[in-house]
Assembly symmetry: C2
Homo-oligomer: 183 residues x 2
DNA sequence: CAAGATATGTCAACATGACTGACATAAATT
DNA sequence: AATTTATGTCAGTCATGTTGACATATCTTG
């Protein structure tokens, strides 16, 4: 049936592109890691996507719930930095989660303009269910990997992340800035 | 300014959810890997996203171009399997790439119903530019990791991917089925 | 050969989650 | 008192996904 040509790209030419742009230097590319990341992430988020349908939620709701649960008291502005979306876009999703009782807001103590976000028990349950699915996949993938190997994987993933202009959550993860995450 | 509570979740309660659903068993979760994957992938695809704007394309175009370039002669049906989208959705993106000369179709030799897809030099140049950005990030992230470490990372990513019902590209990557990728 | 299955393409309607721009309110800062 | 900041909201648009229906060419099968 299906007959892919396995010659791994660049069959047509490895010379010049249409506008004099050089064609990809295939040999130098990390096609392996690029594609593994694509498929690994596709299936990784796929776990949660399926479960979210039952709640009438999408990926956007998951991301918001996750970070609100993990970093209690997160401000709206912090969430915008982490998710890298606009407040209008966040607004809709956040409103739903508030209305349906997955998240509550508390006015900031020092700055009463701030709306600090917290997961309700209902929200915690949702996050836990989704994180459980993803943890199962991760645990399974790490089954035959020793602690040193896990450290290498962690090192690699950290090194893949932009370190310029880190948001508050990234500072927590990396332990930069003045504050340090209590590990 | 911003003051995240770093108590890493589950402050409100670790008991029962609203509907008797247990709250997440925080200690058992791989929050570290879950969040590292989120940020690593966000920045990984961010490289390409930025460049794609100059072409008036989006992520969807990138994914199509990538797999067409990498697996020359890919059928439309194979692409649908890999991307896990509908043909209507693929149709729009593919039509643009065909119209603008990034991809060409050739009628299948054995089965003349098939439209085998190939990247043009123009398409190759685009894929190469995007893969170059992503390769730079990967190479940088792997800088201090020895070959054994890279093998562990590869093993982990492979183990994160669903192996039931693999599409043609995954078969090529994993070397399952009768055909083996020439590595 | 006729009938059915397959590969692809297309029309129409719709949903989600992004976006920009403009504006409003309350509270903090200067 | 004036300005800035944090948040919320209205209105419109875009990209990318969806379902359902249908058309066309071609291959396969009885």
């Amino acid at each position: 049936m299906t007959d892919i040509n396995f010659s791994r790209g660049a069959t047509t030419s490895d010379s010049q592109g249409a506008e004099g742009v050089p064609a990809p230097r295939s040999g130098e590319m990390r096609w392996d890691i690029i594609e593994l990341l694509f498929f690994a992430y596709r299936d990784f988020v796929g776990d949660a996507d399926h479960e979210l349908e039952a709640f009438g939620f999408g990926r956007a709701h998951h991301r918001v719930m996750h970070f609100v649960y993990r970093y209690p008291g997160l401000k709206v502005a912090d969430l915008l930095d982490v998710l890298r979306i606009t407040k209008q876009s966040l607004g809709r999703v956040l409103k739903q989660l508030l209305d349906e009782g997955y998240i509550v807001q508390k006015t900031g103590n020092n700055d009463r303009r701030q709306r600090l976000l917290y997961a309700t028990p209902k929200g915690e349950a949702l996050v836990g269910k989704l994180a459980g699915l993803q943890t199962d996949r991760i645990t399974s993938a790490l089954r035959d990997i020793n602690p040193e190997g896990v450290a290498v994987i962690s090192q690699f993933l950290r090194a893949m992340i932009d370190r310029d202009d880190p948001d508050k959550v990234l500072e927590a993860i990396f332990g930069t800035g003045s504050k340090k995450p209590r590990e």
